[in-house]
């Protein structure tokens, strides 16, 4: 098993890592397979994600996909952000080893959960 250079880059220098003050939406998810945890925070303005940050306890793939998904959602309309799938995140990282694909599910679920948290808070169905 080996990670792509892009995965290692995001692992080494994760983008947008850390807690966000007063986030508009928070997604907290756990990976049932291995027990890893990811938290994704978003700021939303005019239905657009203007900022995203994350905190992740997990393997290299979990950290890299977390980092990548924050990059991918910034500037996206919420409805477009909801279309981002785990395989799109993995692809953007130059692929993941097959036994590590499940780690990218964490990123997709955290994003979905952050957006629905935002919508719940706003009372949007």
């Amino acid at each position: 098993m080996a990670y792509s250079e892009k995965v290692m880059d995001h692992f080494r220098n994760p983008r947008n890592v850390g807690e966000m003050k007063d986030p508009d939406g928070v997604g907290k998810v756990g990976n049932p397979v291995c027990g890893d945890i990811m938290e994704l925070y978003i700021k939303v303005k005019d239905d657009t994600i203007v900022d995203a940050k994350f905190q992740t306890l997990g393997c290299g793939a979990a950290i890299a996909t977390s980092s990548m998904v924050t990059e991918m959602v910034k500037g996206q309309k919420l409805e477009d952000a909801l279309k981002i799938s785990n395989s799109m995140v993995a692809e953007a990282l130059g692929g993941l080893p097959s036994q590590k694909m499940h780690c990218s599910v964490l990123a997709e679920e955290a994003l979905q959960s952050a957006i629905s948290d935002y919508r719940n808070k706003k009372g949007i169905k």
């Binding site: 290692m8 397979v33 890893d36 306890l57 997990g58 393997c59 290299g60 979990a62």
Partner: protein, 393 residues
């Protein structure tokens, strides 16, 4: 940047003297040891010299040493071979929850064939209670298999105690000594074992070669069938260069005696003291004293093992982990689980295992890198953040 190899329980670098012996065999000694003409006999003599070395270390007769393709094969022959030979006598095996998969999986395979297997628990240090072994014996028990030293945490079992009991009860007793052979005393009579597995690549020998000691008179059947090599218990032309390399490696280990053990112990304690002093929220896994000199298994709370390994690799440091994320099965270490470590803690386990190439300088370099690595990963960790908030609340 020089590499610091701290994964000697996984495998070890081949020693120069062993590489030399291997080269000599590969280049100049190609004969089949089962043949009668000179080059066959040369190979035979070389191989039998290795067998004598092993017999010396084990305190047994040369005929009782069977060369195999490694620890896994030795364990499989021991477990499956004894079970098959004793089918009429009973259908129960006793082993432990912390065995290597090379013992656990043949036991599981036997369960599918109708065998009963008792997997004994261990205490928080990874120690099996010999009284539990005795209590688990049934009239149908035909084999007890307990590892000598554990590969993940290094805990050393009181094999001799169980050996005495097993002999009195006339039950065949096997020990997986893959991690202890060449390091601890493995005299088969002192240990009281009927079978013992060892592997070459854990003691600076080549990979793909090992041995099984089989006490004379032990009821055992082969699991592979073919020629008459290795008393037909392990048929097939022997890996002669491998066996010779293994012999050389074992000879060198025996010549060193316990001095290397003392050196490794010093390195290990230097590292552990340094970790304790520089990294908060750490916990030692394994027995405080009854433990392999070179093994240090530590839990770094609030971080995940694979991410530590990847980060250490960036600093040229090679180590291993008990985290679910590093195993293909995505299950946390069964050894730590048996020791009562909950999955969220074993997540942050790191195993550093020392060998003959390691120096004090290596330890100091690790102590420079490791605290930074853990601190960085903790800064990403949502549960560390929650923990800190709890502290200040």
């Amino acid at each position: 940047m020089g590499r610091i190899y701290l994964d000697n329980n996984a495998t070890t670098p081949v020693r120069p003297e062993v590489a030399e012996a291997l080269g000599r065999m590969l280049k100049g000694c190609y004969g089949n040891p089962s043949t009668l003409y000179c080059i066959g006999q040369e190979a035979h003599v070389e191989m039998e010299h290795a067998r004598d070395v092993m017999a010396g270390i084990l305190g047994c007769n040369r005929e009782e040493v069977i060369f195999t393709s490694g620890g896994t094969e030795s364990d499989n022959i021991a477990v499956l071979g004894v079970a098959r030979a004793n089918r009429k006598k009973g259908n129960h095996i006793i082993t432990t929850k912390i065995e290597h998969h090379a013992v656990l999986n043949p036991c599981k395979a036997l369960e599918k064939e109708g065998w009963q297997v008792t997997y004994l628990p261990v205490d928080k240090y990874g120690m099996v209670n010999p009284e539990d072994v005795e209590r688990s014996i049934t009239p149908g028990t035909v084999l007890i298999s307990i590892m000598h030293a554990n590969n993940e945490v290094g805990t050393i079992q009181p094999i001799a105690e169980t050996g005495k009991m097993a002999r009195a009860r006339r039950i065949t007793f096997h020990t997986d000594a893959v991690q202890s052979f060449g390091k601890l005393s493995v005299n088969v009579n002192e240990l009281g074992v009927d079978l013992l597995s060892a592997s070459s690549h854990k003691i600076y020998g080549p990979k793909g070669v090992g041995l099984l000691y089989v006490r004379k008179g032990t009821k055992i059947l082969p699991i592979m069938f073919g020629g008459h090599q290795e008393r037909s218990l392990r048929p097939g032309t022997e890996n002669v260069p491998g066996v010779v390399g293994f012999g050389k490696a074992a000879e060198l280990m025996a010549a060193e005696g316990r001095s290397e053990e003392a050196r490794l112990l010093k390195l290990r304690e230097r590292l552990w003291e340094g970790i304790k002093a520089n990294v908060p929220h750490v916990k030692l896994n394994g027995h405080p004293t009854a433990r392999l000199a070179g093994t240090l298994n530590v839990i770094f709370e609030y971080v995940e093992g694979e991410s530590i390994i990847l980060s250490l690799d960036e600093h040229g440091i090679c180590a291993s982990s008990g985290s679910a994320c590093t195993s293909d099965a995505l299950e946390p270490s069964h050894v730590l689980a048996a020791m009562g470590v909950p999955p969220e803690k074993s997540h942050g386990a790191l195993r550093m295992s020392f060998g003959r190439e390691n120096t004090e300088e290596d330890v100091d370099k690790v102590l420079e890198a490791l605290p930074k690595v853990v601190e960085k990963l903790r800064s990403f960790s949502p549960i560390y953040k929650d923990f800190l908030k709890q502290q200040t609340a």
